[in-house]
């Protein structure tokens, strides 16, 4: 039991606490890999990613939704989000 608690705690400590949903200002991470991992953990299928004007731009899909997110690499937060 104690071991389980410790393991659980370790996981929470090890994983940066990024956003639980996609919305403006939500934090996804400061690197391409972090942003992609955050999107994946939110259930999005990550497609192309590229750097644009200091922003991390990632394309993603989920069910019937297609979207594109721009994350400010300095703050790690979503600066622009478009979904349809």
């Amino acid at each position: 039991m104690r071991k389980l608690i410790l393991t659980t705690a370790a996981i929470f400590v090890a994983l940066p606490a990024f956003a639980a949903e996609l919305s403006m200002g939500a934090e996804l991470g400061k690197s391409m890999d972090e942003v992609k991992a955050s999107l994946a953990s939110l259930g999005y299928e990550v497609r192309k990613g590229e750097m644009e004007d200091g922003m991390i731009e990632v394309y993603f899909v989920k069910d019937k939704t297609m979207g594109e997110v721009y994350v400010d690499a300095a703050t790690g937060k979503i600066a622009k989000l478009s979904m349809n």
């Binding site: 497609r47 192309k48 394309y59 993603f60 899909v61 019937k64 297609m66 594109e68």
Partner: protein
């Protein structure tokens, strides 16, 4: 014989033959406009870019239908894709005994099919980008960009071909695509 040599002869030495019907000309210049708009004016991911792309698709499809049901010179049968005929045309042009083709000459015909095919690839890859299946996939975008680069190379070659053919044949081709009439030196053999 060049156009210059005929100038002194006046209009008597020139036959004016209607070749390009209004729809062929309208499609040609409209396609030019869509290519310029989407290549250099509209934002890549904008709705306008999509609409202009659909317009280009409609123009090419319309032209393909016209190639079957349209008037004689607009039909595919007037300019069948034939690489050997194209090579022969180049050779004949070099030896200055080329027969004048009222529709596209065999070399121009290949370019015409090439440009239509390239625009169709651009439309197809563009439409794919907007589908869940292909959205944000790198290879689709690269194919779209490669097709555009090829289109630009093709347009340059097309313009070089038009200038060269106008000069060698003495028939002003740009003017023919504007008013539909080819001005052919009277002594030229016409096919």
């Amino acid at each position: 014989m060049s156009a210059h040599e005929l100038e002194g002869a006046g209009d008597a030495g020139i036959r004016t033959i209607p070749v390009w019907d209004p729809l062929v000309r309208l499609i040609h210049w409209s396609l030019v406009v869509t290519i310029v708009l989407n290549g250099f004016v509209t934002e890549d991911e904008s709705k306008l870019h999509e609409y202009v792309g659909y317009a280009a698709l409609g123009l090419v499809v319309l032209r393909l239908v016209w190639g079957i049901v349209g008037p004689r010179h607009a039909r595919f049968s007037a300019f069948p894709p034939n690489p050997f005929a194209a090579l022969r045309h180049i050779r004949d042009t070099m030896t200055a005994r080329n027969v004048l083709h009222l529709s596209h000459n065999p070399l121009g015909a290949l370019m015409v099919y090439n440009i239509w095919a390239t625009v169709l690839v651009l439309c197809a890859t563009g439409i794919m980008m907007g589908t869940i299946r292909f959205f944000g996939l790198e290879w689709v975008e690269e194919a779209h960009e490669a097709a555009f680069t090829w289109l630009m190379i093709s347009v340059v070659l097309h313009l070089v071909g038009v200038v060269a053919d106008s000069w060698l044949s003495g028939v002003p081709l740009v003017r023919a695509m504007i008013d539909g009439r080819k001005r052919v030196p009277a002594d030229r053999e016409v096919e």
